[in-house]
Amino acid sequence: MKRAAFPFLGFGVGLRRDHYLHILEKHPRVDWFEILSENFMVAGGRPLEVLDAVRARYPVVMHGVSMSLGSTDPLRRDYLRELKALARRCDPAWISDHLCWTGVGGRNLHDLLPLPYMPEVVRHVVARIREAQDFLERPLLIENVSSYMAFRDSSMTEWEFLTQIAERADCGILLDINNIFVSAFNHRFDARVYIDAIPRERVIQFHLAGHSDHGTYLLDTHDHPVRDEVWDLYAHAVRRFGAISTLIEWDDNIPEFDVLMETGEKARAIHSRVQTETDAVRSELD
């Protein structure tokens, strides 16, 4: 996997049904859209019609929730076939899914569950990512999930687990800044240590989203504005990784499209500010 093979797309938003009409009629000035792959893995009708129209004007990235890379069930060939067919249709800049398991025994929890961070699980997941990449004939991006439980058997940190898997499977990383913040609170680790440990050349995309505070834990709900602390963490990540395609996720209590645009513009402004700071430091050193 070569980072140069993945273009910098700028600042995008998730394509959601609530905004279809607005996007098709107004053609808002968004750099790119991310689709939830499973919403478009249908035979026909409105979703695919909208996707074709959006793709004609914007770059698109496919983001899945059902590959279940950490499951002990075999990878579903019917899923991969449909995913590949969708990729042929919309020619995405890349395809991503999560570092998690979503079901076992042929049953689906429709949730993103964490894994024990252990060498044998690393080997298991790496083999499956390689299998998926071979089938799809393209590198995958894997995303860190928010989690609410950790395993006694874990023998490494989450960032070591993610790094080892990405390097051995030779895949990219979709780094969800909000998920790091949520999990850092839930498991009491330092989010900046996490970010600083992730290899620069593997990170292709960032996710930004809101979460809800339940007192004893944070829940990744994608139904609030991005919190200030997450913006600070984002700035830290931009300092480390540079120009990374950034996506605003909002899945519940979805606001007007303009709110998503403004959030994307805020990310762009932070990126520009960090870039200016970095350039200033460089010129002083020169």
Binding site: E38, N39, M41, V42, A43, G44, G45, R46, P47, L48, E49, S66, G70, S71, T72, R76, D78, Y79, W101, G103, V104, G105, G106, R107, N108, L109, H110, D111, L113, L115, P116, M118, E120, V121, H124, Y148, M149, A150, F151, R152, D153, R188, T216, Y217, L219
Partner: protein, 276 residues
Amino acid sequence: MPSDLNWTERLLYRLITAPSGVAEGLAQEKSLATGGLADVIAGDERLSAEERVDIYANMYFYRLLEVLKEDFPATLATLGDARFHNLITGYLIEYPPRHFSISDTGARLADFIANHPMREQFPHLADLARMERALIEVFHAADATPLDSEAMRAIPPLEWPALKLRRHPATMILELQWDVGTIFEALKRSEELRAPAEQPTHMLVWRHRSQVFYRAIDSSERDLLEVLARGCTFAELCGLIASTAKEDAAVEINARLEMWLRDRVLVAAPSSTPLF
């Protein structure tokens, strides 16, 4: 495949989907050592291991409940929140999601309702759920260019007899016992819902320009549309209509064709393409 990982995933699956919650699931769990769940999941003073799994259990149920509320608004409006909640609790135990798409979750809800005690109080409920599911399936069914009157006129009349026709893939025919269409109409007008009349109905559901429509059809139209689902030539179709026509066959052929072309439920295959 790491065997310990398989054991852990199966344990968590059982606990997350336990019908009466994680605590009840744990009480019945025989695979855990004396340390219990805390041997597997790390808890702390903020949240115990059980409370942490409970977060996932709640998300599992409520995520699927929300999807089903959105997919079955008329069923929900008929039952009210509490009864719908209980119905879905039972449904997810009997039909846990297996498909990779969450939108498939409600695929068997009508079958479940058909055997559920609630049918005593709401005998039309299974038909209502069947109809709501059909609206979703037709919405997502395969695309094909429909035959409309303009396209039909563009075909030279001499080619009509051999013209190959079939039903559009985004169509479905339901066999219903109750006139559940009245419930949809009442919901649209925000009127109070009344139990529909018992009235066996063949319901045609179809899609045009991303909108899903439905209308009751008689049994002769149903039979013709079933033949069209398999495919036939225009001449064969005319023969079938004429064989059952009550009055002037030509008038009936014209009327049927006009309606199907208006609704856009037919597809024509180019004469060079073998269709069947």
